[in-house]
Amino acid sequence: MGSISLKTKSKSNNLTAPGDVDLGAMIPLATTTLSTATATVTFANVSQTYEHLQMRIWGYNSSGSDRTLYLQLNSDSGSNYRNHYLSGNGTAVSAGSEGAATTGILPLNANSSQTGFNGDSTKASVVIMDILDYRNTNKNTTVRSLGGWDGNGSGHVYLSSGLWMNTAAVTNLYFQLPYSTNFGSGTTFALYGIKRAGA
């Protein structure tokens, strides 16, 4: 059994124990609030000094219709992604997957009767995405997302996973919408780094 006594502050192999040292674990890295409608948002040269990344998004698209939110990692636009979801719309719950040809992580998916990233500024979508062990080159990247929107009579909640079949460290996050759709003015993307113990 692997165990850790949190009062010893000892280190053994890959076990770290900083005890009650409190350096703060969640660090804001970058925030982008769009001043005009914008087609894509990129976080480049992502710091490689954290253990996990968390992305928090609030906003809408400017098309008037719902759109799937796409995230591509390290500028990979190939068919190297797979996605699954669990969703509810206030009446029914559903689950599904996106096939092997998917060209991005889909935190909010407008396909398969889902409603995606909202196209109405009064019904903004919100999503929190966790990218664990993002610089671990022994692992493909699995992204977990929880999000949705509510429109006082309509709406959607969404727990999804996205797989990037590549073990490279994540250095670049690229967000876009299909059909030449822009993110609406005021849409905000906030990227956080989350430390590991001992870091």
Binding site: G24, E51, A95, S161, R196
Partner: protein, 173 residues
């Protein structure tokens, strides 16, 4: 400046894997606990395995509620058993080098109330089947939580490179 979100401990599974991972002597000076886990199990013949954990060495008095999708269909249910159940993570037949992604929140872990927990967990797999699970659980015991143990008992161990991360959340009191 006070920090509300503090890293407490990390465990990364080494070569050969390991049967269980424990955080013991958990500090009692936070309000809540948060666990992030990037994990895979060696359970044979399956693409998924249950993310199970116990507290304080107890195998009694756990109950769980779940909402789950498996890539095709959905289910909801309850689960009274000997552990907290926090969804499904990747196992032996899932796409190589792919790990489940889980977050577990344990509020008021030092209180004298029964202990609640919630989790959202996903497995991934380059196939139709993969799991997304939201759970709520209860340990019907008033003891403060001083240890947490992740284990799997059905023919699997935690695979190499699995990582478990424990954080403390401190409220303004």
């Amino acid at each position: 400046m006070a920090h509300t979100y503090s890293k407490i401990a990390t465990y990364t599974v080494g070569s050969g894997g390991i049967e269980s991972v424990s955080f013991i002597n958990i500090p009692q000076n936070y309000t809540d606990l948060l666990i992030k886990a990037s994990v895979r199990n060696t359970r044979s013949g399956a693409a998924e395995a249950e993310l199970r954990w116990t507290v304080n060495g107890s195998a009694l008095s756990y109950s769980n509620r779940l909402l789950q999708g498996n890539g095709t269909s959905t289910s909801a249910g309850s689960y009274s058993t000997t552990f907290f159940y926090s969804g499904e993570i990747d196992a032996a037949t899932a796409t190589a080098n792919t790990f489940g992604n889980a977050e577990i929140y344990i509020p008021n872990y030092t209180s004298s109330n029964y202990k609640s927990a919630m989790a959202d967990t996903v497995s991934e797999n380059n196939a139709t089947s993969a799991y997304a699970t939201a759970t709520a659980g209860l340990w019907s015991n008033t003891a403060p939580i001083t240890s947490i143990n992740f284990y799997y008992s059905a023919s699997g161990i935690w695979a190499q490179h699995s990582s478990f991360h424990l954080y403390g959340i401190k409220a303004e009191l």
